[in-house]
């Protein structure tokens, strides 16, 4: 009776399995210790002086895209252009003219994080960065 616990072509198969795992894990050990540093968006002087954004920093960090989404619908659909924050302060809901008025360095502020997170919002296909030269 043949020993049926024997693996045929054992050497090739084991070598193959090892090679497979090396290749599949290649991105992990190749990039080990090379993690890109966390981006630190730079606040412009005007933003620093204002101390607080439309809403608290933590909220803006996590939810600014939702806020902007609500802003755009409210402006376009409901024709309301004024935003009142929890402190009663009023802002014009405008990406180019309110957000970028304080955060005037788009490359240092928006783009830094967006590039790190590999997101490419298409805001700027239409909305104008006032500082951008054609």
């Amino acid at each position: 009776m043949p020993n049926n616990k024997e693996i045929y072509n054992k050497k090739i198969i084991i070598a193959g399995i090892i090679t497979f795992f090396v290749i599949i894990t290649f991105p992990f050990w190749y990039n080990m210790g090379k993690a890109a540093p966390l981006p630190e968006p730079k606040l412009s002087d005007k933003a620093k002086a204002a101390k607080e954004c439309v809403r608290p920093k933590e909220f803006m960090k996590a939810e600014h895209m939702q806020l902007l989404d609500v802003w755009r619908d409210t402006v376009v659909r409901d024709a309301k252009r004024i935003y009142v924050n929890s402190k009663g302060k009023e802002f014009e809901m405008s990406l180019s003219n309110t957000c970028l008025d304080c955060h005037s360095e788009k490359a240092e502020f928006c783009d830094k994080c967006h590039n790190y997170a590999s997101v490419t919002p298409y805001c700027w296909d239409c909305h104008i960065d006032p500082k951008e030269k054609k």
Binding site: F59, Q66, V70, A79, I82, Y83, V84, Y122, C126, I128
Partner: protein, 272 residues
């Protein structure tokens, strides 16, 4: 007997696993919920001017030649970042660009603007007079009916507006509009915008655009740009308000509208 003990243990094990998993789900749920979605308080600008149905009356008696219309067209196109594909000074200018031209307000001959009112022997003045044409902001707009994404919609004040964010560029609206008021961005318009107005966005390749009755100006209490530079030749106001200047003009003068028989109810009136 052994069988039932076995199944009892199975069920007990699964139940224990389920109970054990609850704190994990709780933890996940807690990290998700951050202060909730922005419920925000918004308001209109205090100066904003509103109406039940905005309408425009264009007094064509005050225009003599295309030169009179030029500053009006330019004012509109400048503040709305409308590209000029026919600008010969632009390095990308080609004759074929005329297929891509974007128009918000432009001039048209009488016979093209009012094809249903054309006579064989037309009054000499009207025959050669350039007419200003733009989106009619219809009371029953065909473009709104056909838009599959509701990117174009009719506001409560009668303005037929576009949400460029929403437009997928299917061009149904262009096929539906009987006035040719809509233009499609076949290409990136930015290289053809001489001076960008940062107060208003540009458009991107693949969306349709048209006149918006200067909704962004009305929102801050200003009259539309064309009205402002027309020197009184264009009047803008509330059609539903019997005291408005528009109604006054309509009461005093005979006016015509473009392709009225189609039933779209255009809101741009012409005194001829």
């Amino acid at each position: 007997m052994e069988n039932s003990r076995r199944s009892f243990l199975k069920i007990a094990g699964i139940s224990a696993l389920g109970l054990g998993a609850k704190p994990i789900f709780d933890a996940l749920a807690a990290s998700e919920g951050y202060e909730g979605k922005p419920t925000i308080e918004t308001a209109r600008n205090k100066n904003a001017i509103t109406a039940k149905q905005w309408a425009m009356v264009i007094d064509t008696r005050k225009f003599e030649s295309a030169e009179d219309l030029e500053p009006i067209i330019e004012a509109c196109h400048k503040i709305h970042n409308v590209p000029d594909f026919m600008d010969q000074g632009n390095p990308k200018f080609k004759d074929a660009n005329k297929r891509h031209v974007i128009k918000w307000i432009w001039e048209e001959e009488y016979k093209h603007a009012f094809p249903t009112k054309e006579n064989r022997f037309l009054n000499d003045r009207l025959k050669d007079l350039p007419f200003l044409v733009l989106c009619n902001h219809c009371e029953d707009p065909a473009c709104v009916r056909v838009c599959p994404t509701k990117a174009t919609f009719k506001r409560k004040d009668g303005i037929v507006l576009m949400d460029f964010h929403r437009c997928i560029g299917c061009r149904f609206c262009m096929a539906a509009c009987p006035y040719g008021s809509r233009s499609f961005n076949f290409r990136d318009p930015r290289p053809f915008i001489k001076e960008r107005n940062p107060k208003f966005p540009t458009r991107m390749k693949g969306v349709v655009e048209k006149c918006n009755f200067c909704a962004e100006r009305l929102a801050v209490g200003e009259m539309p740009a064309c009205v402002e530079v027309s020197d009184g030749a264009i009047v803008f106001g509330d059609l539903e308000d019997p005291e408005s200047e528009v109604r006054e003009l309509l009461g005093e003068n005979y006016t015509i509208r473009r392709k009225q028989g189609l039933g779209t109810g255009p809101s741009v009136y012409y005194i001829v």
